[in-house]
């Protein structure tokens, strides 16, 4: 009896080893992928589905997808893993982390891995404004994946109540103020019950600020990430406008406005217009009890918004086979059809013009024309603030923007301080 059992076990083992294994591959290359979740919706499920489909088509590659938290937590995990010698093969991290990753020597340039003319064509196929945060020093370091821009949402009912055309958002700064004045309501005690506009100022303060400097024809840094221009007249003007919305025009609450509660303010109809990422589109569509519109950010000298979101990066200290497999996956995941699917599932902007030509995307745009706003805005978009020692430079700017918004510094003094601090931090990179 015992012998029979042993024999059958051995047979089973042999059949597993020789019978089933060849159907897969002898030795699949293992690739790990760290990714964050930064918007609502079943992102984890979508990624798992993508990985499963890729593995079915490429049995010689095994992808281990790891949900790594927020963007901030993801880079902490990826860099800590890298420093301890076991980096992920691929990570989806903020496009603004570019210089941090290069300075840590943590990532490999994509051009080294994708060098055929066909590959070059693929890299050239992304929106230019998304590539601004992906290339530096003549090299491509990141591939755009979950990217976004800032857009303005407006409440059509409240517009109608205020006697405004519900189908037309304010097109420029002056119109924003005059519309917002009509949309701001106070009760008998003088307490405001409904604000004309809410522009959040925590979490991504610098990013939102770029939503005002970009239309004011002002760029905040050079593409090498070694210089900032925070105190340029155009930037001071932009911050003055932001401060004036509450201090002078009284159409926005004073003090700092929480990023996380802004979509809720909009849903509660406490703010008639809000600025937030296009990534909130799906969330707002699902929860709004009133008709709303999506518009490009108001123009001043011209329209404009910074881009935002995450790129694929390939890490150093991984084997050439892994890097090759990583490249294959990244290319597969950013194909037009996949980019379209991803955009529809999450609300992010599809990263390539040809993705918008796919039948799925065309159908989606017919159902949800608002999804096209972020794309149309891309032609006016500039890179999100990203420099060497990025987090530190960004904090210097954020702190000072908040100081100006809460009235402890004038816009000019705040931006001068921010610029001085940034120059000090970036000193060693300017040599």
């Amino acid at each position: 009896m015992r012998r029979v059992l042993l024999k059958s076990m051995a047979a089973l083992a042999v059949s597993t080893a020789f019978g089933v294994a060849p159907a897969l591959a002898a030795n699949p290359v293992e690739v790990s992928l760290y990714y964050p979740v930064a918007v609502g919706g079943p992102v984890t499920k979508t990624i798992d589905g993508m990985v499963a489909e890729f593995e079915k088509q490429n049995p010689d590659i095994k992808i281990k997808a790891v949900y790594a938290g927020t963007y901030q937590e993801s880079i902490v995990k990826a860099l800590t893993a890298y420093k301890s010698g076991t980096p992920p093969t691929i990570a989806v991290l903020l496009s603004t982390d570019l210089f941090t990753l290069i300075d840590e020597n943590a990532i490999v340039p994509i051009d080294g891995l994708a060098s055929t003319p066909d590959d070059k064509k693929w890299i050239g196929g992304f929106y230019k404004s998304f590539m601004e945060n992906s290339q530096t020093g003549g090299k491509t370091w990141g591939i755009p994946f979950q990217r976004s821009t800032i857009v303005m949402f407006w409440n059509k009912n409240l517009f109608k109540e205020a006697g405004l055309n519900p189908d037309k958002a304010p097109a420029n700064w002056a119109e924003t103020v005059s519309y917002a004045k009509k949309l701001t309501k106070a009760d008998a005690n003088g307490n405001v019950t409904q604000w004309g506009v809410k522009i959040p100022s925590t979490g991504f303060t610098y990013w939102i600020f770029q939503g005002m400097t970009t239309p004011n024809d002002t760029i905040l840094m050079n593409s090498a990430g070694t210089q900032t221009y925070f105190d340029k007249p155009g930037a001071v003007e932009a911050l003055q406008y932001w401060v004036d919305l509450s201090a002078k025009h009284k159409v926005m609450p004073s003090g700092v406005i929480e990023w996380g509660t802004t979509p809720k303010d909009f849903l509660e109809q406490k703010a008639a217009m809000v600025w937030t990422t296009t990534g909130n589109l799906t969330n707002l569509r699902a929860n709004a009890t009133f008709p709303f519109g999506v518009a490009m950010l108001p123009a001043n000298k011209h329209p404009g918004s910074p881009t935002g979101g995450g790129n694929f990066y390939v890490f150093n200290k991984t084997s050439p086979e892994q890097q090759k497999a990583a490249m294959k996956f990244i290319r597969w995941a950013t194909e037009p059809q996949r980019a379209a699917q991803w955009s529809i599932a999450t609300g992010y902007v599809a990263t390539r013009p040809d993705a918008w030509e796919t039948p799925e995307m065309k159908k989606y745009l017919q159902e949800v024309p608002a999804a096209g706003v972020a794309r149309d805005q891309l032609q006016y978009s500039v890179a999100e603030l990203s420099t060497h020692d990025n987090q530190r430079v960004t904090k210097a700017l954020n702190d000072n923007l908040q100081a100006a918004l809460s009235g402890t510094k004038t816009p000019e003094a705040a931006l001068k301080d921010a610029q001085r601090e940034a120059t000090r931090i970036l000193r060693s990179w300017q040599r």
């Binding site: 003088g190 100022s201 609450p253 004073s254 003090g255 530190r392 904090k395 908040q402």
Partner: protein, 291 residues
């Protein structure tokens, strides 16, 4: 039965505890101090010895001073209030009253809830216009206020959350201590005709002293250890008005990747905590009456 009385035996018995103590307490502390004298390794550049340069940097850092001042205010603002509240709640739920269990549970709930979730709820309490706080103040006809968005009120608002969380936790210790007090003391006081206040002030409070000391040390350590509410509710803003020492250490260490400067800041934290321990063992312990 072999009986080995070697001089090694006590050391072997101590070994497991020693390994843990050295590995998780002493080694990290010493390593932190050591690293604080070096520059941060970055990419191809290894760490080099820079002496006290990182410390000089810290003395010059306005954010550090801001954060330290915030932390001292935070400790001064939260500790006395949460301890007083804890004693009051403990005295209350120690009495024989209907629904005592429910009340105890209600007071203890803040302590067992995950802080991240709680911080998210508090974020909406403080939300201008439709937050819970706003609805109360509006009903009373008071003006609207942006609690977390104003540098003058943000730290106070964070203190309230900390007190709300800590008081229930400390109440448990006081409740345990109150139940240790022999009922004969209450009877004796009753016979002497002592008022309730006299009984509390002359009998209960002195007997609670060891607990107060324990709670005080914990509260002090907690106030320098607090980080989770800040991450969720304010990220230290606006303009560092609600940033505390540990949050700043996290920011420097894991946002800026400046591990040497984070080490310097950690040394300051270590010094603060060492000072607390010293005050406890050298001064307060001697003046405390243990039963």
């Amino acid at each position: 039965m072999n009986r080995i009385h070697s001089p090694l035996t006590p050391w072997l018995l101590l070994l497991p505890a020693m390994v843990l103590l050295l590995g998780f307490t002493h080694y990290p502390a010493v390593a932190t101090i050591w690293h604080s004298f070096f520059s941060t390794p970055k990419g191809a550049n290894p760490a080099v010895f820079v002496g006290l340069e990182n410390y000089a940097l810290m003395i010059d850092d306005p954010v550090f001073w801001r954060v330290l001042t915030n932390n001292i205010w935070f400790a001064l603002g939260t500790i006395p209030v949460s301890i007083a509240l804890a004693i009051m709640m403990a005295l209350w739920v120690n009495d024989r009253l209907a629904g005592r269990g429910l009340l105890r549970m209600a007071f203890f709930t803040p302590t067992v809830l995950p802080m991240i979730a709680v911080a998210n709820i508090w974020l909406f309490f403080y939300t201008p216009q439709y937050g819970l706080l706003e609805q109360v103040t509006q009903a009373l006809g008071l003006p609207s206020h942006n609690w977390l968005g104003n540098p003058n009120t943000v730290l106070g608002s964070m203190m309230v959350v900390a007190i709300w969380k800590e008081a229930g936790f400390f109440m448990i210790f006081y409740l345990a201590a109150l139940q240790q007090i022999s009922p004969t003391l209450a009877e004796a006081a009753g016979l002497e005709g002592a008022s309730r206040w006299q009984y509390f002030w002359r009998v209960q409070f002195p007997l609670l002293m060891p607990t107060t000391l324990f709670v005080l040390i914990n509260a002090l350590i907690n106030s320098f250890r607090l980080v989770d509410h800040i991450v969720v509710m304010t990220k230290g803003g606006p303009d560092n008005a609600s940033s505390l020492l540990l949050y700043y250490i996290y920011e420097v260490g894991f946002s800026f990747w400046d591990s040497s400067y984070a080490a310097v800041l950690t040394v300051v934290l270590l010094l603060v905590l060492a000072l607390v321990a010293l005050v406890k063992f050298r001064i307060l312990d001697r003046r405390t009456h243990y039963q």
